[in-house]
Symmetry: C2
Subunit: 406 residues, 2 copies
């Protein structure tokens, strides 16, 4: 390790500053073409224009008879006009004949209008088949959807930064668009470290614990629309760890490594990586580090799963969303705090809370303060985000609760 | 077709009634075991209990020395007590020795507590290595996380109907749970019909239009966490269509067929299926049908993509979510209508609107009333859901807008 890296060690930064540094160093969202069927939830990286008119030809809007409107002008319920039927155009067929004076063509809803016709008489205002009695007059264009009347070829049908929702995918299909340029959510490698870890599913030998961060963070990454590649539990040895990290970076766009991020005797990560910052002024979450290796970001998160959860959510997630072209949407509610709460000055603190209805409002109950266990979160409706400078909030004060999905 | 089916044809029902009939006939959600890593977003079909204690053994909460608390009672900053160090227990190691009177063991954060020890003195209150000076007294249990103190083996850690969020997956992993019984979202086949349809991506011959419903509804199904299988564009012939439907039902739990649902000359679907209802008292969406075939639901949706979109959202989606153990969450906002609006009595009407900020409130502008094109939805922030009995809403009246994701 160079002195440069040593010099940067223990550069504790605020969460706000950490976010900015990550944003400064991990700049460019990746952009690529995807088939619109695979684009669900992705964000358009450029505007999209229709490649075809929609509809692509004049279409009958109703089942009925395609006519020249002028031939019907004298028709009413008492005095039908009689038109000679030339045939039938079904949906999807290409009409051959031409409608001339006093003739008509039977058309299905959606069928192309035959040449010469300019309106459709709905079938319920007609009688007969070969010589058709027409009991209503129609105006030019009536019951016809004109070619390009909904969207013209070349017209803008989607904006940059618009999300590919199901309905937008429908809109693009209508415009004949098969592929769209979108922000490609990063492929994120997840690596657990810690000599005490064994993979979930096997036996639990004495002194070992199941790896929680691996499955939890893989799912958290996927929930944001990114691809997650779980790289397993890294060997507890500096060179092997470094090799595993390099391997992960070759296959992925970003890496999340959990554990080994403190400055203790068993903490390998700080000495294995060039550090941009090491130490986050949050509680929990202090032993967090960030590194850029071969131009790719490596997030070092605390091994404690509750800490890893909060650092993922507050530092990693906003950046994953940013490079996916999205923004974090954090739903919040207001509540009144149920008890006095003290917080360490100089550390931004995250406190899981349970919400209870009380007197028409919400009461936020901190969940067993001081406990450090992920298992707390089974009871949490959300959490408080207490700013650096706040040392005390009193029972009854209004607080903002960041909601967690339940 | 039997007379029974003929008798049931054109049984127009309200949306409310249609939902109930589908619910009555398509009852049982499927339940199955999934690995928790594949469970993201799914709903637990039963409560879950921890399979192991968490933590699974007494753990050091800090880097420091595992001691017998009683040996430190006389220690303070001025008068250290001296304990003989027996060795080091790293995280993940199984401690061998026993801490007896006036001895201690160096422990890493998270390491198992050696036999005989009952507290940890943080490393910053110690000096020396072989004979360690201890500058602070600790109480029994201090800086130790007791076995099972967060969760006891057998304790309930998740409720039935709870969603597998990333944090809940963390909680289950902590409890040693590898698989969970969840509601299995159905596998839904999507089949487009219509002689005018060609698959997106190729050329557009005269008289043909691109299939919009296929990609749009496949994505809409996936957005709800269900698996979508696009079965393509069905041949325009009754027996072939029926064969395609049977094929789809063998591979899937439910089928959505679009197009051919009217009662017109080219509409094959009503005569191909035993109908539970045919006709929905909505606008758009009237040519909708529902059938149960081999115990599986078949939704026949209008070929018009805008109609198909609304019927999917209002009839199919709530049922897909229900059998997945979920509920529809429809976000709404209040707004004032920008213009007078008339609605057909006896039909529940869906009107896409654009929202504008105006005078501190929201104004809802109906999007080109009477237009039938999916392309409208590129501009829609949401839609009005106008009840059957309402015939008129006046400009300035308050309306509830169902939001669409943008």
């Amino acid at each position: 390790m160079s002195n440069f890296h040593k010099f940067l060690m223990f550069r504790v930064v605020t969460l706000q500053r950490a976010r900015e540094e990550v944003e400064r160093m991990w700049k460019t969202p990746k952009v690529g073409l995807v088939g619109i069927g695979e684009g669900l939830g992705k964000i358009l990286a450029e505007e999209v224009r229709a490649r075809v008119d929609f509809p692509p030809f004049d279409r009958a809007a109703m089942d009925g008879y395609a006519v020249r409107a002028q031939d019907t002008f004298e028709a009413d319920e008492e005095n039908p006009v009689i038109l000679r039927a030339l045939g039938l155009v079904r949906v999807g067929e290409n009409p051959r004949g031409t409608v001339r004076e006093r003739t008509c063509v039977r058309v299905e809803t959606g069928a192309p209008m035959p040449k010469g016709s300019n309106a459709v008489v709905p079938v319920e205002f007609s009688r007969g088949a070969k010589y058709v009695e027409i009991y209503r007059s129609v105006a030019v264009g009536e019951n016809v959807i004109r070619k390009g009347s909904r969207v013209k070829k070349g017209e803008k049908i989607a904006e940059k930064n618009q999300e590919l929702t199901p309905q937008m995918i429908g809109v693009l299909a209508a415009g004949g668009v098969t592929k769209a340029r979108v922000f490609l959510p990063p492929k994120v490698g997840i690596l657990s470290t810690g000599g005490e870890l064994v993979p979930l599913g096997g036996n639990l030998p004495e002194g070992k614990v199941f790896d929680i961060n691996g499955p939890m963070l893989s799912c958290a990454v996927r929930e944001l629309g990114c691809q997650a590649v779980f790289l397993g539990i890294a060997p507890d040895e500096p060179r092997a760890l470094r090799r595993k990290i390099e391997e992960g970076l070759r296959a992925c766009d970003a890496l999340i490594v959990t554990g080994g991020t403190s400055a203790g005797i068993g903490d390998l990560l700080p000495s294995s990586l060039p550090l941009v910052f090491h130490g986050l002024a949050t509680k929990p979450g202090k032993p967090t580090l960030f590194s850029m290796l071969r131009g790719k970001p490596v997030f070092g998160l605390p091994g404690n799963p509750l800490s890893a959860f909060f650092v993922f959510r507050e530092l990693v997630a906003p950046n994953l969303l940013r490079v996916s072209g999205r923004q974090m949407e954090q739903r919040t509610v207001q509540a009144r705090l149920s008890v006095d709460l003290t917080s360490e000055r100089g550390r931004q603190e995250f406190v899981p809370v349970r919400l209870r209805e009380e007197g028409g409002g919400l009461k936020a109950e901190p969940l067993r303060m001081g406990s450090d266990a992920i298992t707390l979160l089974r009871l949490a409706d959300g959490y408080l985000d207490i700013p650096l400078e706040v040392e005390r909030i009193r029972a009854g004060e209004k607080v903002v609760v960041k909601l967690l999905a339940r």
